[in-house]
């Protein structure tokens, strides 16, 4: 019945340029968000070989921190761009601190334990963070309207609604990726992170402060997650306590398919996953509800073909 309804009516042809433009922008925004989450997963895995499953929920806490900051500022600061700057900075810094604390008190102490323990403990931490937002944020069970702090000018081209705020978000997201790239590849800190990622023990004997590097890495990854959370809030104008859960899963899938431990792999994986979801929803003849099934199935297929991901970590650990 479903297929019949959909086919019997004049659905626009997929070659409609305006429509294609809209799908492209939708997909790019999604991909960017997945990519930013994936960067965190890949950074953590890079330096410590751990999977930190609370990452998506750190994003949620970041978005809610931003929202709370906005509510506190609303009365005193009225300029939207200033609000946006303060809100983003507070959220990013707060999550950087949270990330470092998680690393210091939950991840590092378990360093000599099996990796599975870290995975489980961070999975539990994720639930704690998520439920804490729900329980302790006022009326936290319900979705919250995240303020539109960017200019909401829209340029309609047929079926394509080009929004200025989406363009700004895209640019900001790309800038964030470039910034992370520069930190990792062009700074002394980045060199230390790469050294630890390659061989923690040797890096330590070379005089690198191992613990410090780990904490900074977790801070960077979590700060980027907070940035993605704010972006998510600005894009959808809605945040809820469960928003990080699926973003975490998709971000993780993106990181894995791209090659855990490789930043470009994470970004590539993010865009690939978003593209698959969009194709699944748009171009395939079955109900759009199966788009995640479709996207994840393709990811599984890619994983069997390239077990270490599309771009594998440079220093393979297999001997």
């Amino acid at each position: 019945v479903l297929a019949a309804t959909r086919n019997s009516d004049s659905r626009p042809t997929p070659v409609d340029i305006a429509l294609f433009g809209q799908y492209l922008v939708n997909g790019l925004m999604l991909g960017l968000m997945y990519g930013l989450v994936a960067v965190g997963f890949t950074l953590f895995f890079g330096v410590l070989d751990v999977i930190k499953f609370s990452h998506g929920d750190v994003l949620t806490v970041g978005a809610f921190t931003a929202f709370a900051t906005y509510l506190a500022l609303k009365a005193t600061v009225t300029l939207p761009w200033l609000q946006l700057v303060i809100v983003s900075v507070v959220a990013i810094l707060a999550m950087a601190v949270l990330g470092a604390l998680i690393a210091r008190f939950l991840v590092l102490p378990l360093r000599s334990a099996p990796a599975l323990n870290t995975l489980l403990i961070t999975l539990m931490l994720g639930t704690v963070l998520r439920e804490s937002v729900r329980l302790f944020f006022p009326d936290g069970s319900n979705p919250k309207p995240f303020p539109a702090l960017l200019p909401n000018t829209a340029f309609p081209f047929g079926h394509f609604n080009l929004r200025l705020d989406s363009m700004i978000l895209l640019a900001a997201g790309l800038a964030m990726i470039v910034a992370v790239h520069l930190v990792i590849n062009k700074t002394k800190l980045g060199l230390a992170i790469r050294a630890v990622a390659q061989d923690g023990e040797t890096a330590r004997t070379m005089g690198i402060n191992f613990t410090f590097v780990i904490l900074v890495t977790f801070a960077i990854g979590s700060g980027v997650a907070a940035f993605a959370g704010v972006m998510n809030g600005l894009y959808y104008n809605e945040i809820n306590f469960g928003m990080g859960l699926l973003l975490g899963v998709f971000g993780f899938s993106a990181a894995v398919v791209g090659g855990l431990g490789n930043i470009y792999g994470a970004i590539l994986g993010g865009f690939l996953f978003a593209a698959l979801q969009t194709i699944g929803a748009v171009a395939l003849p079955f109900a759009s509800a199966y788009k995640d099934v479709f996207a994840l199935a393709i990811i599984i297929a890619i994983m069997t073909w390239r077990p270490t991901g599309l771009i594998a970590e440079k220093s393979s650990e297999r001997v």
Partner: protein
């Protein structure tokens, strides 16, 4: 072997009993259960229902004429079928629990009816609207005080075509709840002469709807029908605006919540929803219910189905008072409810335990509130649905 421990238990019980010898302790304790989604996306509705059911128990316990002292066991079904079956089994296996008032989510109610039947625990559904909950089987244990989505969609379809709308795109979640909404509404709409241009199933925890909505936009419908619950209803309405879709959002009882409006702000304006029964202030006992609810000092609002949870719990307590704390007797007594006077109006269960309320109220979001259509400026012709 167990004797020493047994003796200790007896002693402890005796001691406890001795310490409780006060006039109030003369009443026997009777346990009843409330089940609803207390965590997860629709927790606001579950908590509103929990408060309302708890209020009915509190009022009864405060009544000196009550024969028993009631103790409410609250269980969380998380709006997930598997969790719901677990907690329903827990309630059913506890022989001390005499009856249950259960489920807001249709997906959970349809999953547990077999459990209630198997464990012979009489129950009343307080919020789920899927017809199958009462009509798929003929379980003597299962009852429902609220109406089903059959009535809701009939009224919705006639109303919308009556307003002159002609084209729809249907978006529904792919749980039993959303699928059934799609099925009934599509059937009714066809009969009433409306045209469905496209149908999209979405998952219940989806965050991004831009792919579906971009397709919907290209189909250019006058109305987007949404069969699902508040959290994704908010996202869909929000993202419709992002994509510049100018259609009316027609929801179901699933978005008739304060959360829908507070989550959307000004964007909620002009959204439609349909709900069985009447708004609390128009219910026969609505004023009384709201007064008692406020007096009890609950922080959260009762939400759309609070009054039903209250009425269901009160009905259960009345029957226990009448026939005693015995599951079989309570089941039999519930099977014979005719013109029972409740705050939601007279309740009559048909042979499937379904209350035969046919009243459906139409709501439109106006200035940050759900307003009954007939009382709204839209209904009066002063504003137009865009």
């Amino acid at each position: 072997m167990f004797r020493p421990r047994h003796i200790t238990t007896v002693l402890a019980t005796a001691l406890l009993a001795a310490s409780w010898v006060t006039p109030a302790a003369a009443k026997d304790k009777v346990k009843i259960a409330f089940i609803g989604p207390l965590t997860g996306g629709v927790a606001a509705n579950g908590i509103g229902g929990r408060n309302s059911a708890e209020l009915a128990v509190k009022l009864r316990n405060a009544d000196p004429k009550a024969k028993y002292d009631y103790e409410l066991t609250v269980l969380d079904d998380e709006c997930k079928p598997n969790t719901a079956v677990q907690v329903a089994t827990k309630a059913g296996a506890d022989r001390g629990i005499i009856a249950a008032v259960a489920h807001y989510c249709s997906a959970t109610a349809i999953a547990t009816v077999d459990t209630f039947n198997r464990l012979e625990l009489p129950m009343i559904v307080w919020g789920a609207v899927l017809p199958d909950v009462t009509y798929r089987n003929k379980y003597p244990e299962v009852h429902r005080v609220n109406g089903t989505m059959i009535n809701q969609n009939e009224v919705a379809s006639k109303f919308m075509t009556g307003l002159g709308f002609k084209t729809w795109v249907v978006i529904h979640d792919t749980t039993d709840y959303g699928k059934a909404h799609n099925e009934y509404f599509s059937k009714d709409l066809k009969a009433d002469g409306g045209k469905i241009l496209g149908t999209f199933g979405v998952t219940a925890d989806q965050q991004d709807f831009t792919a579906e909505l971009t397709q919907a936009k290209a189909l250019n419908p006058e109305v987007i029908y949404f069969g699902g619950l508040t959290p994704i209803g908010i996202r869909i309405r929000q993202q419709m605006d992002k994509l510049g879709i100018k259609a009316v959002l027609q929801g179901t009882s699933g978005i008739k919540s304060d959360a829908y409006i507070s989550g959307l702000g000004a964007l909620a304006e002009g959204s439609l929803s349909f709900l069985e029964g009447a708004p609390v202030d128009k219910l026969p006992g609505g004023k009384y219910f709201q007064e008692q609810y406020d007096k009890a000092g609950y922080k959260e609002p009762p939400e759309a189905y609070g009054a039903f949870a209250f009425a269901a719990m009160k009905l259960v307590l009345d029957k226990i008072e009448a026939v005693g704390p015995d599951r079989a007797k309570v089941t039999a007594a519930l099977g014979d409810v005719k013109n029972y006077d409740s705050i939601i109006g007279p309740v009559t269960f048909d042979d499937h335990g379904q209350n035969t309320v046919s009243l459906i109220t139409k709501y439109v979001a106006q200035d940050g509130k759900w307003v009954v259509w007939e009382d709204s400026e839209y209904g009066a012709g002063k504003r137009k649905l865009k």
